[in-house]
Symmetry: C2
Subunit: 374 residues, 2 copies
């Protein structure tokens, strides 16, 4: 399998690191933000637009693709890359988190999870083995172990029991993997308990994976608690493998967790917020429907070089949003993804030049100074 | 004003003609199809996509833009071109047809039309003078006279009375025009009565406009009746000015009316059908949600060179449609507009090479042979 990770350099002032993942479908420069393509499309984006944004990897959701159009169909049509017209790296999650999110519609046992489809209520069963098999059919470059994501808050006992099962599932996932074409990442759980996080990290590492993810965060806990959990876990994760914080997060979350040694992120926030008219700028969030933008000739962010900011005013974007035009989602998504991708580019440069601690200060200063203006 | 029309050549077998409109913002090769950008956007398309499709002119709707975001706002922000990021020619309709479509929400008098907004029920008044003034604020390259579009069916008396008012309105529109930056087109009415169509054409011509449109067609009459009306009217329209058949139509309508001497068309059909999953191909219509396409690896049209057909299968497009993804509208619209634009390109070549009559035969043969396959 052609998967490897080079640690290029570390920042002296923080735990931030600059790396590069090599896959058969191209390189991924880390720290990286991965746009989410839930149902086989990053919502409102063509693959061409993603290329123009220099997106190096996108994520697909196994739960959604399993239900519709079905992994067998995707495999028959040449795999997820070919199906969706995306030739760069692709990561699929295991379905574990989505199934956990179904709440009362799912039942967890040692064997796996029985759940009902959110589309038609039909019954399905996902196990470590079937999750890996589905992901291999989809054919992503990076696939994830099937885990249990405990709720928040949860008792120590619940999290410990769950963690032990997730470790047994991790072994089953590793054994189930048949195909050499994809890298398999383990997932560290342990709720909000530092010692359980540490044990999870150590035992997952012992099983041995191509990369390690932190799961079960950004599930309702406070930001400081999330950051503490990352800080408490990273020292027990291998240096020479990518570290992926799943489902995170805001621009601040990215900056904070990169400072704590995380390499990979994914989140629906830039794309979902875009569709809701909430736009990211270096000076904070801009809510485009606000009447103050009705006659505003400025771009969303004067410092931004994206297609949207180069061509359209806040007034036009507000009009498109108010008129419920599809182009509103498209232009807003281009802008928000550009913001996230550009933030990561800036951060990578800052780490390369060993000035990430300074960059982090400026990031907050710029945002705090700007909030009044928007 | 920099507006002119060159008649390049005529086809010997039909009344089809190849022409070129020159405007301050570029050339328009005729016969031309103009995509409709109702609310300041061709739905689901970025201006970049329209450029890639070689769109030379788009249409904006005065009624919609007057209500939202408002012509004064658009003017303040530099005009419609700048507002929507479109640097090529732009045509606005007069609002007459839209107001007519409001049915019971509008009341017509000699002075103009009082109507209620479809957005919030507020009362408004449009007259020949205000329509021209609004269109001048929007700043399109081609603007249209404010007319009354009689219903179908309508009595001879109703249509004759309406026609006389439309002629008085046409004079008022011409007098109201203050700005030299745009061309003004007259609109020929006359319902389904050949003699009224003729009189309307002759008297509109007498007033004198930069181009002449046929209004009040494609309002529920049969195809043969529409074609007959065009055929009966064109001989009384000037040779040296563009002829525009408003709101038409299907690919067949384009072929048939080009054969009868029409130069310009607009219709929401390619864009609206795209959003509903109905795709145009050289072999007829393809309804993408049909289960026969579930595992279909072929592009929508193997002969098509559009971005959608070059990159995606029917199976993927069906998946996007079933999953209600925004990308479904985008990719389908790219394909349908490409189909229309390409049809017009082929027709222009055929007229240039004096083989349009033959092209027309092949167009029907190809479609009839293909219908079985889809």
């Amino acid at each position: 399998m052609s998967f490897s990770f080079d640690l290029l350099n570390k920042c002296s002032g923080t735990n931030a690191r600059r790396g590069r993942i090599h896959t058969g479908r191209g390189e991924i420069n880390t720290p990286v933000f991965m746009p989410v393509g839930t149902q086989g499309t990053v919502k409102a984006m063509t693959p061409d637009m993603l290329h123009q944004l220099d997106v190096e990897i996108i994520l697909g959701n196994t739960y959604h693709l399993y239900l519709r159009p079905g992994h067998k169909l995707v495999k028959e049509l040449g795999g997820l890359h070919k199906f969706i017209g995306w030739d760069r790296p692709l990561l699929t999650d295991s379905g574990g988190f989505q199934v956990y999110s179904l709440g009362s519609l799912r039942k967890i046992s040692e064997e796996g999870v029985r759940f009902q489809s959110h589309i038609d209520g039909s019954y399905h069963f996902l196990s470590p083995e079937s999750s890996i098999s589905i992901q291999e059919d989809l054919g992503a470059d990076i696939i994830m172990c099937f885990d249990e994501c405990p709720p928040y808050p949860a008792t120590y006992d619940y999290v410990e029991t769950s963690l032990d099962m997730t470790l047994r599932w991790a072994k089953r996932c590793k054994s189930a993997k048949k195909n050499d074409g994809s890298a398999l990442f383990g997932i560290i759980q342990g709720g909000m308990f530092e010692d359980l996080r540490r044990r999870s990290a150590e035992e997952t590492k012992e099983i041995g994976f191509d990369g390690y993810a932190l799961g079960g965060l950004s599930v309702g806990e406070t930001k400081p608690l999330m950051y503490n959990m990352v800080e408490a876990t990273v020292p027990f994760m291998p240096e020479d493998k990518p570290r992926y914080l799943m489902g995170v997060g805001t621009p601040e979350d990215l900056v904070e967790n990169i400072a704590r040694g995380i390499d990979m992120f994914d989140c629906v926030m830039p794309t979902r917020n875009a569709r809701n008219g909430s736009l990211f700028t270096s000076s904070g969030k801009l809510v485009i429907k606000n009447s103050r933008y009705e006659r505003d000739d400025l771009p969303v962010d004067e410092k931004c070089a994206c297609y949207t900011c180069r061509n359209f005013s806040r007034a036009y974007l507000r009009h498109l949003f108010m008129a419920k035009e599809i182009l509103s989602s498209t232009l807003n998504t281009i802008h928000n993804l550009h913001y996230y991708l550009n933030l990561m580019r800036e951060i990578r440069s800052a780490i390369e030049e060993n000035r990430f601690a300074q960059y982090k200060k400026e990031f907050y200063a710029l945002r705090d100074a700007g909030i009044e203006q928007l």
